[in-house]
């Protein structure tokens, strides 16, 4: 689909990826506007139901971004999230959405550049995969992409 602009939901940890996104802004880094950031207290708070609901509501991709392994503010929230993301990928494969639309990333709050890279990487990946099959090939009617 030409000019397909995916909607990607990013569950970002308050202590790292969310701060990294903030830093990316302060650094005036450019990254694709396809990312919809949801701040969470820790990636360990991300429930598989949240991930599935994002896809059910029409997200084309989802990523969870937490602290580097060993740096979690709550010790093992990012490890829990890693395992849940792995399981949710399997569920998405079973359903027919495709597990490759979901990914887990790690970064520190100082890595604004990394967040921008991850946003670009996921946008690129989802553009190749096309829209969420639940939307029957239709693009999101998000007004921010009205001119694209």
């Amino acid at each position: 689909m030409p000019n397909f602009e995916p909607i990607i939901v990013a569950f970002t940890c308050h202590y790292c990826a969310y701060a990294a996104a903030d830093l990316a802004g302060v650094m005036r880094l450019q990254y694709p506007p396809n990312i919809r950031i949801i701040k969470i207290p820790c990636t360990g708070k991300v429930d598989i139901r949240h991930i599935l609901l994002a896809f059910e509501k029409g997200a084309d991709g989802v990523f969870v971004a937490g602290c580097r392994i060993g740096d979690c503010h709550f010790e093992d929230g990012n490890i829990k999230a890693t395992r849940r993301v792995k399981y949710a990928k399997k569920l998405l494969d079973e359903v027919g959405i495709g597990g490759e639309r979901l990914e887990m990333f790690y970064m520190s709050s100082a890595e604004g550049r990394r967040l921008a890279e991850v946003a670009a990487e996921m946008t690129e990946r989802i553009k190749k995969l096309g829209p969420n099959p639940l939307r029957n090939g239709k693009q999101s009617n998000d007004s921010r992409f009205a001119d694209s």
Partner: protein
């Protein structure tokens, strides 16, 4: 607790294929604690089914509900109105809960979403092991608190057998030899003489060998007394 595991998604999807509006009913006791059929798992399965069916072009409507226990009338009686409004009920309880629902709601199709596995416990987060076989006549007093019926692959009463090697079972090296554990435990407690007594062949009737089991507790019954 009862340890269960969700059936493969394809199997569940095929079971609910004829229906357009289903109740996915969780159970708030054992299967919540072992992460197979609690409120969260109900939400996950409901979401999966809705998405899969939408992709097939024939959406399914899901009603999600979780009762405290599906194996007691007092918890499943109050959901009669919810059950009435659906084509079928997909129960995420153990086999006991599924049957309780099927008995209470005889006109409704009740389908199992789980495979009930065994009675056991989590030895660490996410790892569940069998600990009791419900044999009906507990011998843990004689075996150092380690059950050879549930934990020995052959349920031997006077073990170990020749397949015990380095404390592991020949059936699978992941399985500890129960009789090795029993020996170590009794030795540590200075009770090895307990092993000198040979256990006689077990009466398997209380284990279910004499048909389905039933216990009647007269002191807790509520029926009118004949006085």
């Amino acid at each position: 607790m009862i340890i269960a595991e969700r059936k493969p998604f394809e199997e569940i999807k095929a079971m609910v294929a004829p229906y357009n509006r289903i109740l996915i009913l969780g159970c708030g006791t054992c299967v919540t604690v072992d992460f197979s059929g609690g409120e969260k798992q109900v939400g996950i399965l409901a979401s999966e089914l809705r998405m899969a069916r939408k992709l097939e072009g024939r959406p399914i409507e899901t009603v999600e509900f979780t009762v405290q226990r599906q194996c007691e009338w007092e918890f499943i009686d109050p959901i009669a109105d919810i059950v009435k409004g659906v084509d079928a009920v997909l129960s995420m309880a153990c086999g006991v809960g599924v049957q309780a629902m099927a008995e209470r709601y005889p006109d409704k199709v009740i389908l199992p979403a789980l495979n009930t596995k065994f009675m056991g416990m989590p030895i660490e987060a996410g790892v569940f092991v069998e600990r009791c076989a419900g044999c009906g006549n507990c011998i843990l007093a004689l075996t150092g608190g380690i059950c050879p019926i549930a934990r020995c692959s052959k349920s031997l009463l006077n073990g170990p057998c020749g397949g015990s090697q380095n404390g592991k079972c020949e059936v699978n090296p992941d399985i500890d030899c129960a009789w090795h554990l029993i020996y170590d435990k009794l030795k540590a407690q200075g009770r090895l003489d307990a092993l000198l007594e040979i256990m006689e062949p077990k009466d398997w009737r209380p284990a279910g060998g004499a048909g389905p089991r039933k216990i009647v507790r007269e002191e807790v019954r509520l029926e009118t007394l004949d006085v």
